[in-house]
């Protein structure tokens, strides 16, 4: 049974807090980046929190996910410790990857997160293999593979979905469609114009969810996960959402208008929307909303503070580190 149910008071409270935690986490990263405390680049999912949370809230403990280059939200929603994530980004030895992975490569295998991946569609065939393990061992667990709209044009997408179809693998293909692959709008990059529309090519159902409505994502994913768990095979779920920030730190946003961004931010923000819905539905009191925001803010503030105090990543044991 799902970890967090946004249609119940307690569930709504933790779902909201989880989404705020993701946003505060990435806003915190932005600040650290601006202050020059981080290395490399990063891909922020601000505006897409409902996809990560709606999906992971619908899963059960023991279920697995694979994530992407834009994976902070998936990782947090699946239960990662923000302090250990911050420590990784701050190049600390106690970070999730001991400072060897960074933003694009956080894995939290203990909690069933098989890892973020810097290669677009790179985790899709891996997810198929992880799902095969569940099938062969009869674990009853389900694998959710997050991928973007742009990833749907990689050959790996095709091979992974076809394989999951012929083998009836317990996997949910979760397309986080933020409508752009870097600068390419989906209609420029995607023949046929729809990712979920490709599900039938693999004999699997294709569901579309409002990716800025956490409850809608949650129910569609729950349906797909049930189907996978029951042995009926894979489902392709496309969650339509939007990325507020640039693709990465080098993005000048020349491929879209400021108005488009503002519209999404002002009219469809997933956090504001859920707060409104939950209060209106009487699931949450305005005080609960404030409490959730405060809790998230404090959690990230503390995570950053504690991450600072961690020992720096070390090069002394790199030599042998490529091998188990």
């Amino acid at each position: 049974m799902p970890r967090r149910d946004p249609t119940t008071p307690t569930g709504a409270r933790s779902v909201l807090e989880s989404m705020w935690t993701i946003r505060r986490f990435e806003e915190g990263l932005e600040e650290l980046f601006t202050r020059g405390l981080l290395h490399g680049t990063m891909h922020l999912s601000i505006g897409q929190e409902a996809v990560a949370e709606g999906t992971c809230a619908a899963l059960e403990d023991g279920d697995l996910i694979t994530s992407t280059h834009r994976g902070h939200g998936h990782t947090l929603a699946h239960g990662a410790d923000p302090m250990l994530m911050m420590a990784e980004l701050l190049m600390k030895d106690t970070g999730y990857c001991r400072g060897r992975g960074g933003s694009m490569h956080i894995a939290d295998v203990a909690r069933g997160n098989l890892g973020a991946n810097g290669i677009v569609a790179g985790s899709m065939t891996i997810a198929a293999g992880a799902a095969l393990t569940q099938k062969l061992t009869g674990s009853g667990a389900v694998v959710v593979c997050f991928f973007g709209d742009g990833a749907a044009n990689e050959g790996s997408f095709h091979e992974a979905l076809n394989l999951s179809g012929v083998w009836d693998l317990p996997v949910v293909w979760l397309c986080e469609n933020n409508q752009y692959g870097m600068s390419m709008s989906q209609d420029q990059s995607t023949a046929g114009g729809s990712v979920s529309g490709r599900a039938s090519a693999y004999g699997m159902p294709g569901l579309v969810a409002d990716g800025n409505d956490v409850t809608d994502v949650w129910s569609k994913v729950a349906e797909a996960a049930d189907r996978a768990r029951s042995g009926a095979g894979p489902t392709l779920v496309e969650a339509i959402t939007y990325r507020y920030r640039g693709h990465s730190k080098s993005d000048r946003n020349l491929y879209r208008t400021a108005d488009e961004i503002e519209d999404w931010r002002n009219l469809r923000d997933p956090l504001a929307r859920f707060e409104g819905q939950a209060v209106e539905a009487g699931l949450l009191q305005p005080s609960d909303v404030d409490a959730a925001r405060e809790a998230a803010k404090a959690a990230i503030r503390d995570a950053i503070a504690e991450a600072y105090r961690q020992p720096d990543a070390t090069a002394h044991d790199l030599e042998e580190a490529a091998y188990a």
Binding site: C97, I119, G122, Q134
Partner: protein
């Protein structure tokens, strides 16, 4: 007790043992089931172990390697097959960006105990896209291990050792060796394999020059050593067996003794494994023992042609090794 077996049957016996003794092991690949594999290696296994563990896949090499990554990091022991090693080009992301890197990149939190078997090499008239020897690429990638059995016993033992290893291992078999015969002691337990990944073997001791090869070229080196012996030239033949890790110390020790080095492989010379062997020798004190410039005898630097004579001209033959050794002795 040892029996005679073919190289192909030695591989099959290893697969059978693995499937019997370790329930985490499964096979996947193109036409490995009812067809028995393009070279017959997996013939009969489907009947013995069933379709859950002997998995015919669609023609999707990227998915074959990728599913092995995903299955191995979640506790299984996949042994997957690339029908021809040439098709591994379609699986490079899964192998190089994923399998080889996950353990390091995730800070040691995952292990990727997967094995990829793939037949390589020329001599079958299959031409440019079905005859390559691509070991050099994988030997260049940290995180991978790469073995190339030359003998019937090694075809068995190295595969067992590969599955025991917690890292991704690529086992490159040679098409022309599948039918070769030799003594085989079938191990009764997986752990009984005496093979260690990264250990070279001196197959024939000698004093005048060191001949280094692997896979089919180990056999050709042994043939050449026979001929040389008749001429009073004592060649030490080293079978590398593994090109990553590479057992350079065994080569250096031999060179310190013989003072002459001849390295061969079927792949083209430029940036091949033979270059690494020469470099590994001359950057060590073994350099001081070299009495003459080292020699490489490699495949001609062209794609593999179809016609029999052309193919023969591209792949090193034992006569060429003999000639090169003679010249080395003169130098």
């Amino acid at each position: 007790m040892p029996e005679t077996s073919t190289y192909a049957k030695a591989v099959a016996a290893a697969l059978r043992l693995l499937l019997e003794k370790d329930e985490r092991v499964f096979l996947a690949g193109e036409d490995i089931g009812v067809y028995g594999g393009a070279f017959g290696v997996t013939d009969g296994l489907l009947g013995e172990f069933g379709a859950d563990r002997i998995r015919d896949t669609p023609i999707s090499e990227d998915a074959i390697a990728g599913l092995a990554v995903g299955a191995s990091i979640t506790g299984l022991r996949p042994v997957v097959e690339m029908q021809f090693s040439d098709f591994i080009v379609n699986a490079m992301d899964a192998i190089v960006n994923q399998a080889a890197k996950l353990h390091f990149m995730y800070g040691g939190n995952v292990e990727v105990p997967m094995v990829i078997r793939a037949p390589g090499g020329g001599g079958t008239g299959a031409a440019a896209q079905h005859s390559q020897s691509l070991e050099a690429w994988f030997a260049h990638v940290p995180g991978l291990k790469v073995v190339l059995p030359a003998t019937v016993q090694d075809a068995h033992d190295l595969l067992l050792a590969a599955v025991l290893d917690p890292n991704p291992v690529i086992v490159l078999e040679h098409k022309l060796l599948y039918k070769s015969e030799g003594e085989l002691e079938v191990r009764s337990r997986i752990e009984d394999t005496p093979a260690r990944l990264g250990e070279a073997k001196v197959l024939r001791p000698g004093t005048d020059l060191t001949m280094v090869g692997y896979s089919m070229m180990t056999i050709r080196s042994l043939e050449a050593a026979e001929v040389l012996a008749e001429e009073g030239i004592s060649a030490e033949v080293i079978d590398l067996r593994s090109v990553r890790p590479l057992d350079i110390s065994t080569v250096r020790n031999s060179v310190r003794k013989t003072g002459r080095l001849l390295v061969t492989h079927e792949a083209p010379g430029p940036v091949g494994v033979a270059a690494e062997v020469l470099a590994g020798v001359v950057e060590s004190d073994a350099f001081d023992y070299l009495l003459a410039p080292a020699r490489r005898v490699c495949g001609l630097d062209v794609p593999m042609p179809y016609a029999r004579d052309l193919e023969r001209a591209v792949i090193p033959q034992s006569e060429q090794l003999v000639d090169a050794a003679r010249e080395l002795m003169k130098a």
